[in-house]
């Protein structure tokens, strides 16, 4: 078993042993003890989510995630830098379409994501419990995630009105400033709140018309990777959100240095990683947003990954 996994193994588990066991089965039935019941569970293979498809990592590598009891929860894809580059290509290809979609449509699609998550709430509660979150907290986290999506769905056609401007220039021109998405955004999800933390990190990015490549928390990747299934059934166009699992230490530099990524949002991370990200980001004057701790949803997180475009036109005959 991987070192990181052991270190992160949680001791508290208020879910009943049976629940935990059945969850373990559903995550990776092959490794759980043979069940007393007659039917053998079918485990899910956790894969990447790139360009609207669920490929395995091109590298063929994996890493193991342990559940709260230290049992193997799943073999996760250990995404490579090439997987990341593929994801950037997909995100870039999806950008014009998504940025050009009407705010109303983006709002409806985000709302649809919320609807799909609501319908699959139990799946995520189970996954959270497997990782050691108690039942009530798991339920709360899932409902908070749904509400976060609804919150940002509502912002898609409002932030522009709040943060744009018509500028009263002194010359005879009509002059206005609007917001446009910065482009392709790479996101490193923090270790807190496997589902809520992940969705809080990416929702404002895509609400504003950007496309994203997100790295799930290394310690706690199950919910983030499963969230791809929700996205996949929600009319989110292929490539708008791409989800990788893997070693943050291995991938963070590429997330920060890639020349066709316009902004990076790093949640968590220690001082040396932050410094590395900021240094690498300078390669292409990437916008860097460091969030040392989780913060509650607000429209300023949409604005963090927007550019202001100012247009002038003469007034007169």
């Amino acid at each position: 078993m991987d070192k990181t996994v052991k270190a992160e193994g949680r001791s508290i588990d208020s879910a009943s042993p049976r629940e935990a066991q059945s969850a373990a089965k559903s995550a990776s039935g092959a490794r759980a003890k043979p069940p007393a019941a007659s039917r053998l569970g079918v485990a899910k293979t956790y894969k990447l989510y790139i360009n609207g498809k669920f490929p395995r990592t091109e590298s063929g590598r994996y890493f193991t995630v342990a559940d709260a009891k230290g049992n193997i929860a799943a073999n996760m894809c250990r995404a490579s830098r090439k997987d990341f580059r593929e994801a950037v290509l997909a995100a870039r290809a999806a950008f014009n379409g998504w940025a050009g979609a009407s705010a109303y449509l983006r709002g409806q699609i985000l709302y649809r994501v919320a609807e799909m998550l609501e319908a699959r709430a139990e799946q995520f509660v189970t996954e959270l419990k497997l990782m050691g979150v108690d039942k009530r907290a798991a339920s709360r986290e899932v409902t908070a995630t749904i509400d976060c999506l609804v919150y940002y769905a509502g912002w898609t056609d409002k932030y522009q009105q709040v943060f744009s401007a018509v500028n009263p220039v002194a010359s005879s021109h009509f002059n206005f400033s609007i917001l446009e998405p910065v482009g392709v955004v790479s996101v490193l999800a923090g270790p807190e709140n496997a589902l809520l933390g992940f969705v809080e990190a990416i929702a404002p990015v895509i609400a504003g018309g950007n496309t994203a490549i997100a790295l799930a928390s290394e310690q706690n990747p199950l919910c983030a990777v499963s969230f791809a299934e929700v996205l996949h059934s929600s009319d989110v166009p292929a490539g708008v959100i791409n989800i990788l699992s893997g070693y943050r230490k291995e991938l963070a530099e590429q997330f920060a240095s890639h020349m066709d990524v316009n902004a990076i949002i790093a949640n968590g991370g220690d001082a040396s990683e932050i410094k590395m990200i900021q240094e690498q980001a300078a390669n292409n004057i990437k916008r860097v947003i460091i969030r040392k701790k989780p913060i509650a949803p607000d429209p300023y997180q949409i604005i963090d990954v927007q550019e202001t475009k100012t247009t002038w036109h003469p007034i007169g005959g």
Binding site: A165, V169, A170, H173, N175, T308, K309, T310, W312
Partner: protein, 491 residues
């Protein structure tokens, strides 16, 4: 290439010449030597070193200016920190605003003096310094003065807080205006400032120090340190600075962004550009040609947002190029202090060398160069307005910022091709669109990845109008309400 059509051709060969119309300089006082402005006083640099600032139109020394070393920068930062802690951050915002209004008013009163010095120290035509640089600088202070006590209204559900000491490094193309862009919002938001003007154009910033003295600003609120790149580096690397604002090249911006890694300093970067000016066949061609001239030859092309690439729809390309060549021959290159002059001196010998290297390179790459052949003064640094045709997207004169009066012309057939070419650059500062169709302005404007779009106009600036780039043209905005956030903590 077709000839310009005869009925429209400009005929200036009338036997009449422009008489010299020199701006007088007798009312302007430039001292022999300038010290550093720290803590409200002019103090000698600890290094004891001074350097010359020259008039690029005559190569004559205008003054000797102090070279600030790391110890001087440290002294300036200490003064700024003291002023921040003891006075400026505690002052009622409305009072802060009134000080900034005073600066605006004094600049207006002394506008002509500033314009003349700007022209002498930097080489720009007096007409531009007088009509653009100085009035806009005053307007910037006037605009931001009013924000000082209204910040809470700019950011819903936030309580804006000042940052502390801002270190500001500005370029040589619009010396006083860039100082205003930096200092005005910083002060309005409650910060104190250490500003470094460019090595080749320090004089108007030092004159601004006199204005700040005359406005009775508390000592240390604004400190002005002159010097070269090493002075800038000392500012960037100083531990007690909370915010860095830089305008200059993308390469230096990259170095600064890297140097700030691992610190908590906020930063804004206004960097290079390679703007595309797109002329569609349905544009008002004569207006468009005037716009192109203004886009690339304004301020000798020393403009980060200059329209240095021209994209012309194929069906009107011959007409546009012919008219452009004809119009270029009416441009007067020469004495910046002459009110008839359109194109002044190149800012420095080093910059002229860079531009000339690109002129050679463009021809080596196979592009066709057109240059007006007028006579220029014997002394000084001059570059005739230049355009290149037959250029390819891969040519370095199309890809790299030249920062001189050099235009690269390409053609296109479809709207999509124009947009693709316009966006095929690492820069994204500005762009121009010339068409009579409103719908096209909105569709092309939305597709261009640039922070400022000029439609049927170019190179317009205003303190209320946010300015700044996409991609490698920088981070953040200056000007307007959007320019405030660069100098505030909104968390």
């Amino acid at each position: 290439m077709s000839k310009a059509t005869a009925p429209h051709s400009l005929n200036f060969d009338t036997g009449w010449a422009y008489s010299p119309a020199p701006e007088s300089t007798d009312h302007v006082e430039i001292k022999d030597q300038y010290k550093l402005f720290i803590g409200g006083k002019f103090v000698a640099p600890k290094s004891g070193k001074y350097f010359d600032t020259i008039n690029p139109a005559t190569e004559k020394v205008l003054a000797r200016v102090a070279q600030a070393g790391a110890a001087d920068v440290d002294r300036a930062v200490t003064a700024a920190r003291d002023a921040y802690d003891t006075v400026w951050s505690k002052m009622k915002p409305a009072e802060r605003g009134k000080y900034i209004y005073r600066i605006a008013r004094i600049i207006q009163e002394r506008a002509r003096e500033f314009a003349v010095i700007e022209s002498m120290d930097g080489g720009k035509p007096i007409r531009e310094a007088r009509d653009v640089d100085i009035p806009l600088a005053a307007a910037h202070f006037f605009y931001y003065a009013g924000w000082a006590d209204k910040l809470d209204y700019a950011f819903p559900c936030r309580t804006p807080q000042s940052l502390g000491v801002a270190g500001q490094i500005i370029p040589w193309n619009f010396p006083l205006l860039m100082a205003a862009w930096k200092i005005a919002p910083a002060l309005a938001c409650g910060n104190t400032v250490v500003l470094k003007p460019a090595e080749t154009t320090p004089l108007t910033a030092l004159k601004l120090a006199e204005v700040i003295e005359a406005a009775d600003l508390p000592p240390g609120v604004v400190n002005i340190v002159t010097g070269d790149g090493s002075t800038g580096a000392a500012i960037v690397n100083h531990d007690d600075i909370n915010k860095i604002a830089f305008t200059g090249s993308t390469n230096v911006g990259r170095i600064i962004q890297r140097a700030l890694a691992g610190t908590d300093k906020k930063y804004t970067l206004e960097l290079g550009g390679k703007a595309a000016n797109i002329i569609f066949a349905d544009a008002a061609i004569d207006q468009a040609v005037e716009g192109v001239v203004n886009a690339i030859f304004f301020n000798q092309g020393h403009v980060c947002c200059a329209g240095s690439r021209l994209l012309v729809q194929e069906s009107v390309a011959d007409e546009v190029v012919a008219k452009l060549k004809e119009r270029m021959q009416t441009l007067i290159v020469g004495d910046p202090l002459d009110k008839n002059t359109d194109i002044g001196a190149i800012n420095s010998a080093a910059q002229l060398e860079r531009i000339n290297a690109y002129l050679d390179l463009g021809q080596e790459e196979g592009a066709e160069m057109f240059q007006c052949g007028g006579k220029t003064p014997d002394k000084g640094y001059w570059c005739q307005p230049t355009l290149f045709t037959n250029v390819a997207q891969s040519h370095r004169i199309v890809r790299e910022e030249i920062f001189g009066p050099v235009l690269a012309i390409q053609t296109f057939r479809t709207l999509d091709e124009a947009v693709a070419k316009a966006n095929n650059t690492q820069y994204g500062l500005s762009g121009g669109i010339w068409t009579d169709k409103g719908a096209k302005i909105f569709s092309v404007g939305a597709k261009m990845r640039a922070g400022v779009i000029w439609a049927n106009t170019f190179n317009k600036f205003d303190p209320t109008s946010p300015f700044g780039g996409y991609k490698e043209s920088g981070v953040g905005r200056e000007g307007g309400m959007h320019g405030l956030s660069a100098y505030l903590d909104l968390h």
